[in-house]
Amino acid sequence: MKKQLLVLDDEEEIVQILCDILSSECEFQVDGFSQAHEAIEALKTKNYAVIISDIQMPKMTGLEFLREIRTEHHILTPVVFLTGFADVQPEEIIEAGAYCVLNKPWDLGELISVLNKASNSPALGG
């Protein structure tokens, strides 16, 4: 059975591209969202192996999203952040319970390898 992957980015184009590339390039079943609350709803009903999330998003930032799923919904799925901004210090993100932070534009090889590792790792945070 394919592993489930959740993509969250306020930029719909990026969601589309990631869904397209990752579903065709690796063994993932990808669901994409551009709104954090929609992603949370999906997380509550489906068991995902990895989450890819943007950091800088309106209404709810990636970090807020991470904290909410960890503390309020006790979802321990590894979160890989993908960001074009570097306003947030990586240490802070890792401390918040993220698996790792990658930059946009991403290196596809690196992204896939990180996703594979993350999906095989025991759930983090909590």
């Binding site: 990026i14 591209i17 590339i21 309106p58 901004f85 946009k104 534009p105 596809l108």
Partner: protein, 456 residues
């Protein structure tokens, strides 16, 4: 509404120039006044001295006339000149009394002068008159030649003469003293005026120098602030470009994979490539905005521009940030308004105000910024309001000052608002904080000089 704008650098040289001109006028008036004073002083001196000298001269003449009339009567053995003699004698007594009175009255100005005694001579003259009327010429000749009479006459003449001399000398001395006082005053006045003039010239020169220097410093500070802001923005822009770059990169990746597939989906590739083009335009806008901001303002002239276009283009640089931070930006400016401005400078002000707003309201629940044009009888105004809760009263008076910043070290130059304020002032307008507003609101007041004009 046209407001006159005077800066300190214009006012001070003007005041100094007015002072210098005033000083020259004062000098001219002063010299006229001095000449006038000198004339008055001489008149005053003469008013005291001349009557005495005149009377003394008349007295001497009258004495001579008396002698002459007496001699004439003796020679002709005829008392017919008795009337003239009496008249001259009366006049002489009167004159002598007047001299004595004047001397007494003006003793302060004339000094202590001896009283001119004539009583005994008058006694002799009475006897002469008697003898003349009785025709006793021989006795008259004897009495006239008497030692006592001659002595009294000599004494009288000498006193008259010495008084004339004393008064003349006194007058001379006073005129000299007066001249000395005046020339000393002249000299002192000249020195003071000269010193003050030199001082004014020195101050004027120094001021010109200092104001040139401060203009240069202001120019440099403005340039530095622009470069610092540009540096800050360049960092931000690098991040802002990363998102569209990821879209381009991902799209190209997708296309490359798709075209390698057998029977690839043309439609999909076509759509993706169009996305790439759109995204490239997004980046182009950011780069254009950056270029606009980095351009030397001098290279831009005051020209008519659409206010809406200037504002929209100014926002291009911040659009990615606005989008990612979820800031709701609303612009309400009539499309047909034109404004005469230096676009680079004016854009810098808008970029600065909008960036300040974004920095303040990011992280808020529903951040928003409104950019609106308002026109009232007070004049035209471009307001930038954000969802912030206003600026505390104690900060309002400082925020336009150079190097004032509430941001952390390394986050702001503290020059943004002061430079923006300077730019708007140079355009003839004003940049103020609207303290009545419950939100943070900056008003760019555009007076007539900016010429907001309705175009068809």
């Amino acid at each position: 509404m046209m407001k006159s704008q005077w800066s300190v650098s214009q006012i001070v040289p003007m005041i100094l120039s007015v002072f210098t001109v005033g000083l020259i006028i004062l000098l001219l008036v002063g010299s006229f006044h001095s000449a006038d004073r000198s004339n008055n002083a001489i008149k005053e001196i003469d008013q005291v001295h001349f009557p005495v000298l005149e009377d003394l001269a008349v007295g001497s003449r009258l004495q001579q006339s008396l002698d002459f009339l007496l001699e004439l009567s003796i020679q002709s053995r005829d008392p017919k000149y008795i009337g003239e003699y009496e008249l001259a004698r009366g006049l002489l007594i009167e004159t002598t009394n007047r001299v004595n009175q004047l001397v007494l009255k003006n003793s302060k100005a004339l000094g202590d002068l001896p009283h001119i005694e004539r009583k005994y001579l008058t006694d002799f003259e009475e006897q002469f008159l008697d003898l003349l009327s009785q025709g006793k010429f021989e006795t008259l000749v004897r009495l006239k030649s008497s030692e006592e009479y001659l002595e009294l006459k000599t004494s009288f003449s000498e006193k008259m003469f010495s008084t004339v001399q004393a008064v003349s000398e006194k007058r001379e001395r006073e005129l000299v003293a007066q001249q000395e006082t005046l020339s000393r005053e002249y000299w002192m006045g000249g020195v003071i005026v000269g010193l003050v003039s030199v001082l004014l010239i020195v101050i004027l020169t120094l001021w010109t120098h200092v104001s040139h220097k401060s203009q240069e410093l202001e120019f440099r500070a403005q340039n530095n602030a622009r470069l610092a802001a540009l540096g800050e923005m360049a960092g931000g822009v690098a991040h802002e470009i990363n998102n569209p770059l990821a879209i381009i990169d991902g799209s190209v990746d997708m296309c490359l994979r798709e075209i390698q597939r057998d029977g690839f989906d043309h439609e999909k590739v076509f759509k993706r490539l169009n996305k790439v083009r759109e995204t490239v335009q997004r980046i182009t806008k950011i780069v254009k905005g950056l270029k606009r901001f980095s351009r030397e303002p001098d290279s831009d002239e005051m020209q008519m521009h659409s206010l809406l276009k200037v504002v929209n283009e100014s926002l291009d640089l911040s659009r990615e940030k606005i989008k990612h931070l979820g800031v709701d930006v609303k612009i309400n400016i009539p499309a047909n308004l034109e404004i005469c401005c230096n676009q680079t400078e004016f854009s810098q002000v808008i970029i600065n105000l909008v960036n300040n707003s974004i920095d303040e309201i990011k992280g808020e629940k529903d951040p928003w910024i409104r950019i609106e044009y308002n026109s009232s009888s007070q004049g035209a105004m471009l307001s930038i309001t954000d969802s912030g809760k206003g600026i505390p009263m104690d900060l309002v008076k400082n925020i336009m000052r150079p190097f004032f910043s509430t941001k952390g070290i390394g986050e702001g130059t503290g020059l943004g608002l002061s430079i923006s304020h300077g730019i708007i002032k140079r355009h003839g307008g004003d940049l103020v904080v609207d303290q009545q507003s419950t939100n943070t609101k900056f008003d760019i007041i555009l007076p007539e000089a900016i010429k907001v004009k309705e175009v068809a």
